[in-house]
Every structure is written in structure tokens, then in C-alpha cells.
Symmetry: D3
Subunit: 328 residues, 6 copies
């Protein structure tokens, strides 16, 4: 059982930074979840800096403790979690980089360990999806973001942090019919952008529509969309208003608060997620308060909470469905 050291024995600012002060381990045996970094910002169309996203999240994650009060579940001590380190990347070469990240994630996926990636700009999600789809087949996708990231190309080239979900559909690693996007807001390149998700068979809930859904209503739509198949949850921190994520690459104004973001995420209990990521944390733009990194660290802790809950539920379900043979 891998878990953080006791925070009441030595202060949480002690020791080399890993996610939540977890052990940095390169073996996957006995591991439920592996948190890892993808230090890459070559796909960013505006501000860079996400290559230091994993460092920033690890730094802020010292504040994470062990029990997830928002979801109501014990995380550390219940789940065995490690910090698996960072995928190698190749500055200036996005295609090489995606390849290396896929290689890095493949053994995690193959081992049945739930990967939770720390971006990096959002292009890295394509690499994770490739690794996971190789194991699980085509995936469903919950995509929380200010942007749809379904554009055709940027600057004449296929890969970037604004095009990768179109690529993922083209590659057949996500199923458009099992993709749901929510939170989109901010200026668009043209009116036709609004029609792209539907053209590709994807469900999109812009923020102004999401704003009037309760978390439960939103979760119902998600579950309906994803069905029983394996799915991935990707969270771009620019989903929230820039006041809650100043340290990001393509911030937008007028989005949700972090309280709303947590509420939507926490409602997604009972979905079959085989992987997660939180992307687009750019520490050079975050300011001394580390507002964005701390937010991301907490989103990951909630993803861990969803996993913990689902494992507990399946154990309990197994227990419940066990024959009552041993009675009285």
C-alpha cells in the first residue's frame, strides 16, 4: 500500500516534491493509481509554461491530506497510489513527444493501474488516449474545458492543443457517440465553430447552458452519453474563470468558479473511468499564490476520490451479491 507519510510527524513542506508527497516509484505492482507528469508546452497556441505544470502541481499538492471530504471517501490508505514521475518529451517536436508519452503510459494501462496525468498543454491527452485505447479499445470521453479542441489544424499542421480530439476521433481511439464536452465559453474563430461538435457527432454543452444545470442533471447527461464502456475524463483548468486559473495558457473570462467545477466533477460518481488528466497548468503565469496549481492538485484529489469510491462500491457490491450461505 503506497501512501503519503504522516503530515503530523513532519511538515508537509518536507522532502522532494511528489504529488501529495506520495512515494516516487517506478514499479506498478500493488498500485491502484499512478499520478504522473507530461512536461510539455510545444502545442500551446498562446502562453507556454505548461512544461512546468507537473512541478507546479506537485509543489501545491503538499496541501493535500488523505480524506476527501467533498466526496466523502478515504483516498490514501484506501487506494495504493504512487507518483510515477514524468514522461520524457522532446522540445520542438510534438510528434516525437506524443510518441514518447504514449510509450510512458502504455505499461500503466497494461498493468490495470488507473493513470492520472498532469499536463502539460492539452495536446498530451491524445498520447494518453492512444495508450489507453490500445488496452481498452475505443473510449468514451468527458471533456471539461473552455474550448472544444476540435479544430482541423493550426498553422497548417495537425497536432496542437486545439486539434487533438478531432485527431482522436479520426484515429478511432475515442467514440464520438460517447463523447461529451462541457463548459465552452469565450470568443470563437468563427460562428461555424459552434457547429463542429455536432458535425463530428459529439455532444457539447456550452457554459451558458451548463450554468443552469445542477451537478446531478449534468451527471445524468454524462452517464447517459458514456454508457457502460470505458471512458476517460480530461479536465482543462481553463474550464474555470481566469480568476481561478490565472496560470494557464489560453484563459477565458466569465467561466465557472472552482466551487462549481468541483461540484460538477464530484457528481460524476458511478462512471467507469479508466484514466484521467488535468492539463494546462502554467506556473509562470500563476503568481506567488499558486492559485491554479492548488486548484489542479485538488481536482486530481477528487479524481482519486472517484476511483476510491468506485473501488469501494465494487467491493461492497461484491460483498452484497455474495451468497448468504455463511449465515447464522
Amino acid at each position: 500500500m503506497y501512501e503519503p507519510p504522516d503530515a503530523l510527524e513532519a511538515p508537509r513542506f518536507t522532502g522532494p516534491r511528489t504529488y501529495a508527497r506520495l512515494p516516487y516509484v517506478k514499479s506498478l505492482e500493488g498500485v491502484d493509481c499512478a499520478v504522473f507528469g507530461m512536461p510539455w508546452d510545444g502545442g500551446a497556441s498562446f502562453r507556454p509554461g505548461a512544461r512546468f505544470g507537473p512541478e507546479g502541481i506537485r509543489s501545491a499538492s503538499g496541501m493535500i491530506r488523505t480524506y476527501n471530504e467533498g466526496i466523502g471517501v478515504q483516498v490514501f490508505g484506501a487506494l495504493s497510489v504512487i507518483d510515477f514521475g514524468d514522461a520524457p518529451t522532446v522540445p520542438g517536436y510534438i510528434e516525437d513527444t506524443l510518441g514518447r508519452i504514449t510509450e510512458f503510459v502504455r505499461p500503466i494501462a497494461a498493468a490495470g493501474v488507473t493513470p492520472i496525468g498532469m499536463g502539460g498543454d492539452h495536446s498530451v491527452t491524445l498520447a494518453e488516449l492512444r495508450a489507453l485505447a490500445a488496452v481498452h479499445g475505443p473510449l468514451g470521453l468527458v471533456h471539461l474545458d473552455a474550448h472544444t479542441d476540435l479544430w482541423r489544424s493550426y498553422f497548417g499542421r495537425p497536432y496542437s492543443h486545439g486539434t487533438m480530439f478531432r485527431r482522436a476521433i479520426e484515429e478511432g481511439i475515442i467514440e464520438a457517440a460517447r463523447v461529451i464536452q462541457a463548459g465552452m465559453h469565450g470568443p470563437l474563430y468563427e460562428e461555424a465553430d459552434l457547429a463542429i461538435p455536432a458535425e463530428l457527432g459529439v455532444e457539447m454543452i456550452p457554459w451558458r447552458a451548463l450554468a443552469s444545470l445542477t451537478p446531478e442533471a449534468f451527471a445524468d447527461r454524462v452517464r447517459q452519453r458514456l454508457g457502460e464502456g470505458p471512458s476517460f475524463l480530461t479536465f482543462d483548468v481553463d474550464f474555470v474563470d481566469i480568476a481561478f486559473c490565472p496560470g494557464t495558457g489560453t484563459p477565458e473570462v466569465g467561466g465557472p468558479t472552482s466551487f462549481q467545477a468541483l461540484s460538477y466533477l464530484r457528481a460524476l460518481k458511478g462512471t467507469r473511468f479508466v484514466g484521467f488528466d488535468v492539463v494546462e497548468v502554467s506556473p509562470p503565469y500563476d503568481g506567488p499564490g499558486q492559485v491554479t496549481a492548488l486548484f489542479a492538485a485538488n481536482m486530481i484529489f477528487d479524481m482519486l476520490g472517484l476511483v476510491a469510491l468506485s473501488r469501494r462500491t465494487s467491493i461492497r457490491a461484491n460483498a452484497d451479491s455474495a451468497p448468504a450461505a455463511t449465515g447464522p
Copy 2:
């Protein structure tokens, strides 16, 4: 038709910064809207820095695209918009400065081009109003701000960023009966301050009252107040809570979110605005995330959206009212 270059051809961080990467043009022919700066902070009673407001907004406005999703209108490509540069100012001499700004705005107003000013501390609005009233006569005013800016004088002198709307009423360039202020919050100099708007014949909706109005209800009150005459819309970024506008001169606590601010602004469709400004952006206090500058850049994009909508409506209205001569 002036519009930004294609952001999918070269990245938005390319080239000298103008508002939304628009052409920097000194001719007004064929122009619908002219965005311009008023780099001045000599009227500020607390933090300076607004002289760099236009630079900050231009820098952040790289994130602006062309279609306004919040209002549902194409802006660039539909409107011809330019960056008209900055008015000259005279550090240390507020009266000279106001004079020079008025001279700068006058040809824009005279050409029938809609000016959208980037402050600068709020005292600059007086200069804009003088230029516009010279063309349109006395104006109505929508004033979104944490402060009424109706004080009598500061430090024994008439001009400052806290007194200019009283001056504007005295000069007859705005009509008190067509002025509506909203969003006021924060400590006051004395209880009697609360009575000032009414004494001057101005309608004032403090934030605690506005908070319980829907955007539509607010817009109704605005339209009722302004009537059909030409009006100006001035937006001081300290209208929102300091978390959404850290980079400003006289920030207040407990105000609206940027989501609420956008909602109130977007509801003001169908008002006859002959000019706009966004003021009090002070980059030295904004931090690396440029939260305030990005907010201001988006407010301006929404003002452009209101103009685009009103031009489209009038075109459509003209079309609708065209004789049905060609029908069967």
C-alpha cells in the same frame, strides 16, 4: 473592411500588439469602430499604473477571436474595426491631458465612427464625453462601477477620477435624467455620499440591489432611463470583485464576478450607444496572469458585439421595412 489577420495562419502572439491584432490605422474611412487608448493615471487617488492600461489590454487581447459567442454575433468580418492608437497625454497636467484627449476623440466622433476607449484612469471619460457631446448633443450614460465618481472635488481641485461625472453634468454634456449608475459597493467617505446621485438627479443602483436583479430586469431599467437618445457606456473594471480585477487603481471587495458583469453588459442590447470605454486597468498590479487586462479585453469585445448586433439589426430592420414589391 479592417479585421485581424487569421489566427490559424500565424500564432496570436505574433507582431506588434494592437487591440485584437487589428490593423493600426490613422484613417477613419470605411471604419465602423475605432478602439484607442488613453494612457493616463494622473487623476488616480490611490494606485497609479493605468497609463499602461492600453498596453496591458492590447497584450491580453491577443486571446480575442472573431465571433462573440456570448452575444451570438459575428464581430470581425462583420464590423470594420481599427486600433486608432493612443491619445497624447501630459504627465502632471490633468487639464492639458483632458484637452488633448478630447482633440484626439473629436475626429472619430465627427466621422460617425463608434469610439471605444481604453483607459487610463476614469477621469479620461470626461474628455471623451466632451468630444462626443460636441457631435451628438447631451448624452445619456450607463455607468458600471464600484464608485459613483460624483464627488465635488479632491484635494481642493476639480478634476480627478472621482469627480468627473459631476463635472460632466455641470458642463451639460450628460443629462442627469438620462444617467444610470450601477454596481456601487465598498466604504464611503460619509453617509451623505449615498444621497449624492439623487441630489444630482441621477439613478443609482448599488451592488447589493443589483445583485437581486436579473440581467434583463437591469437592462429594462437602463432602457427606460436612457430612452431613445444617444448614450455612452462607461465600464470601470473595479465594478467586479478585486479577485477578478486585481490590476486596478481603487479596488473594492465583495463585488460581482466577471460572469455577472458580462451578463449585465450583454443584456444591454438595443440601446443606442454612440461610444464606450473600459477604464482603470493598471497592469503593474495585475500579476503575471493578466486577469484584469484579459477581462477588459473581453468587455471591449462585448461592446463590439453590441455594436455589431445593432448594425445587423438596423440592416435587417431596413430590409424588413423594404416594400414587398418583389413578392408575388
Copy 3:
């Protein structure tokens, strides 16, 4: 009558910084409220910096004026308020420090002056409670915070910013039955943490429950809990979401906005508070906009508003209950 100089005579950025530009006075005669600092961060378990909290709040408090519009009461001019300076502290020695702070607060309490403390990490509140309980007997407590601060010990030692309210109960200087905590959110050390308040006889309203209470409903629960006895109000700025308090020691994500915080505080009219503090402002993490310091300065101004209101009420009450002997 001590009050700030006229802000329309000389700018508010003039002169050595005291709270709200109040006179820095070491005598307590003729004083209603004394604002003072406790520059200490030795009890902080994560980020330090709160030793500069009083400097940061004083700096931002230049923005405070005299009339509290949120509460609807004249503060300065009605109350006689001073800046009483800072308690001495002893870096590295928490027990000495608490002792010196108690000594510093004791004469304020003894003089019947209402103390309003500026932290400093939250451990300082223990010192204030010791001084006040020596005068008033065991106190009730309203505790607004993301954390309960009821842990048993940190790193094997009794005093820290996470343990002091358990110590205060053990010392008998607050009455558990008259303690109410609200706003708790964020990860916990273990599930059992949730049960601690109840075990100690303290009422705790987590943020997810508070979020569905109106300010009035909350205030009712507070008044019911505190009864008529003397009480203390302690406000840890991490009560609000980190976007509203980046400059703090142990920030949490997904909390209230500053608008909500002000609303809860303002509803607490009519409670018998004998002292207040605002703690955990850490300027090195606040960024150039001073978001947190300005928030804290305003919370203190609202605490002064509550005092002003209660004094006005008692005067009026006295007036009302005065015998009509002098009539016609």
C-alpha cells in the same frame, strides 16, 4: 475622538501606514476600539509570511473610508478607534510569543476597549482569548475558517495554528457549548477529523452545508449558540476560495466568495462580541494586487461596523428606555 484624517485633503497614500490611516496611539483613554497586529508565523504548518500580515493589511487599508455602506452605519467619527501597534513576538519560540501577545492584549481588554487583532497565523488567537477570558470569563466563539483547528498536536507539540481551539477548550477560556465553526472545506487528515467538533461539544457547519443557508439563517444559528454571554469572532481568510485569498498560509479550493463572506459576517448583528480578529494574511503570497490584504482590511471594517451598530443600538436602547420624566 480618534479617527482618520480627511481623505479629500491629502491622498490616502500619504504618511506612515496604520490601519485605515488611524492615529497610532499607545493610550487607551477615550478609545472604543483598538486595532493591532500580531506579526507571527511560527505556528504555520505550510506557508509562512503572516508575520508581515499586519503590514500588508495596513498597506491595503488606505482604501478604507469612513461610512460602512454594507452594514449601513457610520464607523469613523462615530466610534473612537486607534491603531495600537503590534504585539512583540519571539521568532522560533511559540510559547514565549503567545505569552507576549497575551500581555499586550490584556490592558486593552481591561480598559473595556474592543480589540481587533490582525494576524499573524491563527495560533495567535489563543493568546487573545487568554487575555479576554481573564477579564470576561469563558467566551463564546464564532469561528469562520476552512479548518476546525481542533487537532490534538502537530509534530508532537501542543501549539500551532491547527490546534489552538482544542487548547482553548482545555484551558476553559472558551466554552465548547458556545462555540460555532463554519466554512470548513478541503481535504482532511482522516475521516475521523469530521467527528472531532462533536466530540468536543462544538457545533461545526461545513461549507457544503453553509452554502445552502442564507446569511440570516446562519446568523440565527450563531445567536442561538452564543446566547447572551460575551463572545469572540475569529476570521481566518482561508474561509474563502483561494482566488479571493491567494496570500494565505494553508489555502483551500472551492470555498465561498468574498461577497458571501461579507454577507455572513454582516448578518451577525446583535451578537455580543468582546473582541475580533482576522488572521492568516501572508503578503509574500498575495501578489501585486494585494487581493487578500484588501479583503482582510474590509473584514476588519465590517467588524468595526458591527461594533458601531451595537454601540448605536445600546445608546438608542438606553434612550428609548429612559423615563419620560422630562416630557411636555
Copy 4:
């Protein structure tokens, strides 16, 4: 005898900030030197922020102790020094502001107290010179700066931080023949700028010439220039390279280090200075390390050291010249 409290009794980060933790006193009796602020930046031609210069210097001056090791003289305890607060200013009105500063300095000068001003942009020095010349007659001037500040006008107006020494010569409050400037470097408006000092009868040593003078050689030229008459020493922090003064209004590259600056200043023993100032500290540009403010605080401490030395010398001189009555 006014002096700071003992820094080994309570930490130097304790209490409202005054220069070096000196008492904030409004009486001039028994005072040798009065340190005061001039919070003004309306005369700045590039970056503002110097209105917060006095606050920034006071904040950093907590690091000042009592004995000046560089000069080798006891300052506090030997000299009676106060923080006299700040001159009132009028944002937007440079002429009013200069007038108010002159009024503020006049009683200091009249009382025979040595004033040490904290800027404020450099235009404030004109106001100080007016006050001092009214008492002492025309002054000599040592001017350490990257710029000569002898331009004719800015933007068609006479007063700014680049023109005031020409004004001072015109007004007859400094004697050109007793003015020496040193340290000038950086781009000029035109080649003719180089000739201005000589045209006005002023001696100017550009930085590239100063760089090859020892501090003693420089001091000789200063003493030769100033003679025995009363003189003023004005230090613009942009004298040093921007790495040593990032927080300033018009920074230049390639200047002296702070070690060199201190060396030149310390060499100026034995000059008859009747006043000093340190100007152009702009905290919003200084960064969290407060490099510039700390530098300025130390320059002031060296100015105090020069005063202490000169008073000690005169006492000793008096003693030496006393009749040897007791000798054999």
C-alpha cells in the same frame, strides 16, 4: 533624543512602518534630522509608482540598524532623528503639489533640522530646494543620476522629472557654478543634450568618465565645485544599473553597482550639506525582493551617517579649538 526601539527586544517587523522604525513625530524640537516622504509620481515620463516610494522605503528600512559600518559612525543614539511623515500632494496637479511640498519642508528648514526626503519622482526636489533656499540662500548641488534633468520642457509644459534643475537654476535657488552632476548614462534625445550642462554652467561627469575616478578623486572634484557654501545632495536611484534598481521610473542599463554608489557617497565627507533626498523608488516595479527600496533605505542611512560625522567633527573641532587652559 529620538531613535528607533531596540531591535533585539522586539523583531524589526513589528509596528507601523516608519523610516528605520523611528518615532513618527510632528514636532521639530530637539531634532537633528527629519526623514519624510513626498508621495508623488505625476511628473514621471515613463513608469509611475513613485507615490508609493516612501511606503516602500519605510518597509525595507526595517533592516536598518543603528551603527553605520561603511562610514564608521554611530547614527542613531548620536543623532536625534524622526520620521516626519509625508508631504500632501495633489494627483494630476504638479504645480499645486510642488507648492504643498515646499510648505511642508519650510518649517523643517527653518528649524535648522536637516531634511532627508524620500521621493517621489524627481520633480519633488525642486520643491525641497525652494524651501531650503528660502532659508539658506542659493545652494550648491551634488546630483547623482543617470540623467541630467536639465531639459527645457516636456510635452510643452515646464515641470516634470526631467526639467526641474533647469527650473531651479532659472529661479536662482541653485547656483550653476556650484552644481556638479555625475553618473549620466543611457540613450539621449539628441547629441545636443550632451552640451546642455556646460551651456548652463553646470559640471557633468558622465558614468563612463566617473567609472575611472576613485571615490576620493570624485569627492575632491565635488568639494572643489561646491566650496564652503550650503549644498544639497540629491540621489536618483537610477544612477545604478537596473539590476540594482528594478523598481524605478526611467531605468537605464550599464550603470554602476550599488557597491560603487555607496563608495561615491561615502567619500563625500566634509561637505556642507543642508539637505538630502533619494528619489524615484517605484515599488510596483521592484519585485518581491524589494531590491530598490532596500538600496534607497541604505542610501538614506549613509546620508544620516554623513550628517552624524559632520556633527561629530564640528563638536570635536570645537573641542580641539578650545583654549588649552588646563595644560601646563
Copy 5:
């Protein structure tokens, strides 16, 4: 004649930012020098952000005036200089990006205009050299930097900001025999790195050797190395100590001061440079004082000074060598 507007008419913080407030012009007729940006950081091996280098330098270059006092030459008014805008780049694709930059520079070179590039990470210099060598043939190179940038490959790939001068030699666009590097300091990957320059036929002067050369001695070695052929001067801001260039990608400790850097550069009069660049300015790491951007803006102004001097010299030389036919 293109030159900046008069800085004594409107403040230097007025208008969209171009280098030194020069006109932004896309025609090359009548132009002596074209300053342009290369907003790219995909080749950076540590900190990104250099894509905002051109914006940062333009912002700080408002401080540039017209006469270069360090070199003693009139720049603006004597030379016709424009801001030519930015080369397009392709985030994530270094080879495409280099190609686009070469296309962008080619017409400048072809027109006989001297290009002065603003990086961007150092990999961009390869693209400039390609464009210039196509016009001038193989070039000599003066390379001022903390690093030799002669490594074989990074992460298995040929292009990066640490390998491009080896690529340039391989491509035959610079002549190793006419390459001189100076200023190298800081840790190396291995001892063998020290031998690389010599192996490739390049002269390298590490900082510890340079430190004992006078600027003139250094310039002699440069001139001896370059001979009469066309050469390029590339300046990486990390040549200086990190205190003078905090805003850069791969900073090193213990390097020269900016005063020393300017001295070495200014000594290089009389060399035949056909192009220049200043690279590796990364604004997100520069802090509010813009120390690095201001330094870079001044280095460019000195490069312009070298051009102005050489043009003046050739004109004078032509004049001198003209037949004395017109004499009496």
C-alpha cells in the same frame, strides 16, 4: 527616413508598442535597418517564454531615445529604421518554424537592409543565417553567450537552442574559421564539451579568460578572426549574470555585468556585420522591473549604433577618397 516620433511631444508610453516606437512598416524601400521578432520557444531546453521576447523587448524599448551616448553616434534621424513585425512560427514544429523565419528574413537580406532580430530562443539564429548566407555567402560569426550551442543533438533530434551552430557549420552557412565565441561559463554536460569548439575549428574564449581582456583586446581578436568578409553578431542575453538577465531560458551564475557586456559590444566598431540578433529574452521570468527586456532593448540600440557608425564611416571614407576636383 523612418524614425520614432518625438518623445517630448507625447509620452513614450503612448501607442502600440514597436521597437523604440518606430513605425511598423512592411515595405523595405528607403530602409537601412529592419528590427523584427521571432516569437518562438519550442527549441528551449529549460524555461520557455521566449515567444513573448519580442513583445517584452518592444515594451521596454519605449525607454530608448535617439542618440547613442555610449558609442557616440546619432542613430535615429541618421539611420532609417523600421519595425518589420514578427516572423510567423508553428508551435510544436521547429523545422517548419525555422523555414518560415528564413522566408521572412530573406527579403530583408535581399533588399540590402540590415536585419536585427529579436528572439525567440536561440534556435532562430539558424534560420536567420540561412537567409543571410543565401545572399552573402558563408558568414563569419561573433557569438556572445554563456553556452557554445555546438552540441550534437538533444533528445535524439537535430534542432534545438543548443545545437544550431554545429548545424550551421555543417550546412556551410557559417565558416568555422571565421567563428569566434566568447563568454562561456557555467556547468557543462561533460569535460569533453570544452574541446568541441576546437574540434570544429571554432575559437572560443570562456568568460574566465574574457574577464581579463580589455574590450579593445577582445575586439582585436574578433577582427583578426572575422577578417573582411560579411559577418553576423548574435547575442544571447544569458551572456551576463542572471542578476542582469533573470528573464531568460537557461540562466547561468557568475557571468559579466551588463556594463561589461556593453563594453565588449561597443568595442566591435569597424567590423562588417550584415546582421544581428538578441535572443533568449523570456518575459514571464523577468519580473515587474523588466530588467532583461530593457537590457536587450539597449543591446539592440548599440547594434544600431554600430551600423550608424559604419555607415557614417563609409560615407566619410567615400568623401575622403573622392577626387579633390572641386577644390580651388
Copy 6:
């Protein structure tokens, strides 16, 4: 052999941060040097933040490579070096903290591994000295700092970052006769401070004297003072001017450059150091450029260089003194 991973395989910004990307190892077998952190700032008399010093140094140390060019020695690959993690500390309790650090260092010392500590405020050195003296007996000390840290007490208490070397002498763990301090500058508490080192039998070279010593002359005095016995080298980053160490607790103005600091350190070859530390790095005050942390990371790399050199020398010495028996 422990060493960092190859920086040309995966970027240096990859993976959890340890010093120079070394393995984080808790075993001491086969280890030459152990770098470790002491996250503590409770002893700081002015700015806190040094508890994040180890995190800051580790973050910046990604820039460290393997060959020390300044000293001319291979470090990694030649020495086996680990990151040993951080000592536990107890916020608020300096005596407990010192005890825990001593416990943490003891096994390193006992194993014959050279410890290199990363502070933490300077009080931590007392704990290291206790651990090392227990193994080696009383130590010599080279102390590079702006301050002597020999004061008697602070605020009535014995332990702080200004008193620990007096304590170390009293405890007999350093020998006054083998202590040499250098670099002292800045204001003192009183003139008598100057005499303290001599009173205690310590040699002190103030910065103004050191400035005229060559590194070699300095090193001679050090070697003469230390003799052959085991010694410790402690480096407080405030030894250099604040421009080179903005991120520190008690910065002073007018000190050496980082180039000078490196030169003095590198000259200390051939001294028998049994341990080293670099202290007083406070990241919250360092700004985005991480100037101070990068400086400290390089100082540690030079300390490693001294160790590598001394090991190589002893091997070579052994080889030299080996009998020439095998030669023909």
C-alpha cells in the same frame, strides 16, 4: 555510483525535483556526498520563507550539469552523490527543530559521507555542527556571510539565525581559533558589534577589506587559520549584494557580486572540509527568475567540485606515493 540521468535523453525539467536531478536515496552505502534540506525559518529575524529554500534550490538545480568548468573537475560520474531528502522540523519550536536536524545529519556524518545542507535559515548550521563535531571533534569554520551571527541573544532567547556561532563556540563544537568569517557588511546594532569576533577569538574580514584581497590571498588566510583539522564551510547567500540574492531573509546592500563569491569559494581548494551548507534562500522573495535559488544551486555545485577535487587529489597522491616497483 549515484548520478543524475542523462540530460540529453530527457529534458532537465522532467521528473520530481531533487538536487541536480540526483536519485532520492535513503541509504548511504556507496555514497560520497549527500545533499539534503533543512526546511526551517523559525529562527529568522526579518523575512521568513527559508522553509521553502530546499524546494527552491532543487527547482533551480535542474540547470546544473555534470562537469564543473569553474573549478575544472568532473563532479557527477566521479563522485557518487545523492539527494538524501529533508530533515524534519517543528514549526514554532526551534530547540526541537535543531535536535531533529542533528539526528538527521548524524548518520550521514557517521557513515563518512560528506553532507551538504540546503537551508533553511542560518540557525540550522548549529544542528549540523553538533552532528559533525560528534564524529570529528571540534571543527574549524569558514563562514561567508554579511553578518557575523555572533550576537548574544535575540528577544531574550538563545537560539536564532543571528546567535548560533556564539552558541557553537560555547558548546565547544567549533574552535574559535580555527574560525574565519568574511564578507561582513551593512548596518550594525552598535559599534561594539565590530569587536565581538575578536573578543571571541574569531578572525573576521569585513567586505570592505575582503574587496581588496585576491581570491588566492583570501584562500591563504583561510588555510592558515584552519590548519589541517577538519572544517566546515557555511555560505549564507546574503554574502552577495541583494541584486544577486533578492530571495533571502536579511539582505544587505553593497556586497560582492556572484562572480566574486564564486571566485572566493573556488580558491579554497585543498582545505579539509567535512561538511558544507548554503543557507537563507527564501523563494517567496526571489521573484520569477529564481536568481537566488540558481545562485545557491551553483554554490553547492562548487562545493561538490571542491570535494571531487580533493578526492581526486588524494587518489592521485596515493598513486604518486605508490612504490614504482612495477615499472621497468
